[in-house]
């Protein structure tokens, strides 16, 4: 993404215009000169230049165009007698253009792969940092809360003493209030921290985001012996938002689903990810699993921070997901799946037509 922005800034129209001019010049020179001169070989320069500002498919088009122009000028100059040397020269030119185009496309493919790998790495890095940050915040909040609980208990014990020790009880409550305030201060700081980095606002195709996320953890899905179904509608509107954040939400929902299904001994493990246009012309994403499911009385609580049903869970994943979806103006909710499992859905508000 960034790479393309950069190109757009450094060469908004100059390079394409120059390339087109060069192609025209070669075409004219080729047409007015004798066939014996291998002028069309210069089209390779056009192809190489186009790599600088074109995508893979466009580079191929440039290559095909060059071939077409070569043949066209051949046709235009063919009223003079075709010499053997002329035919050979044309053949060499066509071969040179084809080879160059092929190599240019190869280079472009490698570059795209490298860019993809790099952005995935950045993504994983961000997820890991988030995990570490969460652990650290959890510890910071837990200390004053643990102290609050101890102070409350100490206070009850001082009051139950015979005679009750009111002075000690009062001090315990004073400390309790102080510690509870401390915990709330830490939370306020975390809020300020997240406000400090406004999410990116790009026009995004939610299907691309789903596929990119799935490709990140495909091996994990296979390892868990889960069969994956993707049902992506092609009329989903583009949504405005932060690609990495939305990827985090989907990743989190998929990881939760895998975890829930790993806790089920028997029966099929099916993960269904679907996208659709919702009633309000926004995007709707559904992650459906056949895992242990969520008890109906917990459906409201699972999005609360620090609520977890996992032995080693932090209880932050869904809370963070909800805050991400809400800053995007959307909504996230859970319902039971039938016959078993859970359905997590989020909707994003009306975007642009695809």
């Amino acid at each position: 993404m960034k790479l393309q922005h950069l190109r757009a800034i450094t060469a908004p129209w100059l390079l394409p215009a120059a390339t087109a001019a060069l192609a025209a010049a070669i075409f004219i020179a080729d047409t007015v000169t004798d066939l014996e001169l291998a002028v069309p070989a210069f089209y390779t320069a056009v192809v190489l230049l186009s790599v600088r500002f074109c995508k893979k498919r466009e580079v191929i088009l440039v290559g095909l165009g060059s071939l077409g122009l070569t043949l066209l000028s051949d046709f235009l100059t063919s009223d003079t007698a075709t010499t053997q040397a002329g035919v050979i020269n044309t053949a060499i030119s066509l071969l040179a253009i084809t080879t160059t185009t092929y190599l240019a496309v190869r280079i472009e493919t490698e570059k795209e792969a490298a860019y993809e790998a790099r952005s995935q790495l950045a993504h994983v890095g961000r997820v890991t940092t988030l995990g570490e940050l969460t652990a650290s915040i959890a510890h910071e909040v837990n200390q004053p809360l643990a102290a609050t609980v101890i102070n409350g208990n100490a206070c009850l014990r001082w009051l139950a003493d015979d005679p009750p020790n009111l002075d000690e009880a009062r001090q315990a409550v004073a400390r309790l209030v102080k510690d509870a305030n401390r915990a709330s201060e830490i939370i306020a700081q975390v809020r300020a921290l997240t406000r400090g980095s406004p999410p990116q606002k790009d026009w995004l195709a939610i299907n691309d985001i789903i596929l990119a996320t799935v490709s990140l953890i495909e091996s994990e899905i296979l390892q868990n012996q889960v069969s994956l179904r993707t049902e992506l509608a092609d009329d989903v509107p583009l949504v405005q938002g932060d690609r990495v954040q939305l990827q985090q939400v989907i990743l989190n929902l998929i990881l939760n689903a895998l975890e829930a299904m790993s806790r089920v001994g028997e029966g099929p493990r099916v993960l269904t990810i679907s996208s659709a246009r919702n009633d309000a012309n926004g995007a709707l994403v559904t992650v459906r699993d056949t895992g242990v499911g969520v008890a109906p009385e917990n459906l409201d609580r699972i999005f609360n921070a620090f609520y977890t049903s996992k032995a080693d869970g932090m209880g932050m994943g869904l809370a963070i997901s909800r805050s991400i979806i809400e800053t995007h103006g959307g909504r996230i909710w859970a319902t039971p799946n039938s016959p078993r499992g859970a359905v997590f859905q989020f909707s994003l508000p009306v975007g642009m037509e695809p």
Binding site: H139, Q143, A146, I150, A154, R157, R175
Partner: protein, 208 residues
């Protein structure tokens, strides 16, 4: 309560947790001393009373688990109760294997902590009693003459007087006299009693 009040040593880097534990432990009429780090604890002078340590796993510098190992080297033989803000199962297994009484994730039920503290103090009290008995026996043993010690060791390993006399080239009467002195000086009521004492003396170095 046998004379001295037991003391609970709290080592936690969070001042608010320290203050709260200080109050909670005092509310059940136990002595308590708090420390912000294991270094602070090591540099303090500990009272001669039964005690146990309430130790936070996550500490600046030496972690709680490392400190548990260090304690063995520095011959601090106090029972340990771990409290932790982020405990996992492997960590608790490691702590309990190394002899910890409890491994409590914060926040914990106050009764769980107090129960663990009582178990720890009881364990330390028993250990202190054992080592006091051994120390007294050693005092008595040290007062024996070298001949008497020789005879006590032979008697308690089950040799009859006649054999001891032969081995040490003494008369049987002399052996009997020494034996009486040993029984009196060691305050042993019977031969069986004396054997038990010899046992404690020889095993004392290992169990203390």
């Amino acid at each position: 309560m046998s004379g001295t009040t037991p003391v609970v040593f709290v080592i936690d880097d969070s001042p608010s947790v320290r203050e709260a534990l200080d109050s909670l432990i005092r509310s059940v009429h136990l002595g308590v001393r708090t420390f912000g780090s294991t270094d602070e604890f090591l540099q303090s002078k500990r009272p001669d009373a039964p005690g146990c340590i309430v130790l936070d796993v996550r500490l600046p510098g030496l972690s709680g688990l490392d400190f548990q190992r260090e304690m063995v080297k520095s011959e601090i033989d106090l029972p340990v109760i771990f409290i932790t803000g982020h405990g996992d199962v492997p960590m608790s297994v490691r702590a309990l294997k190394a002899g910890a009484i409890e491994f409590l994730p914060k926040p914990f039920r106050d009764q769980d902590l107090l129960d663990a503290i009582h178990v720890g103090l009881e364990r330390d009290r028993a250990r202190r009693q054992r080592s006091a008995v051994v120390a007294a026996l050693r005092g008595q043993f040290d007062k024996l003459t070298s001949r008497e010690r020789q005879i006590m060791l032979k008697v308690t390993s089950g040799r009859p007087n006649k054999q001891i006399a032969a081995e040490l080239k003494l008369s049987e009467v002399t052996v009997k006299v020494h034996r009486r002195h040993v029984m009196r000086k060691m305050k042993a009521k019977s031969l069986a009693d004396l054997v038990r004492m010899a046992d404690k003396l020889s095993g004392g170095a290992e169990t203390a």
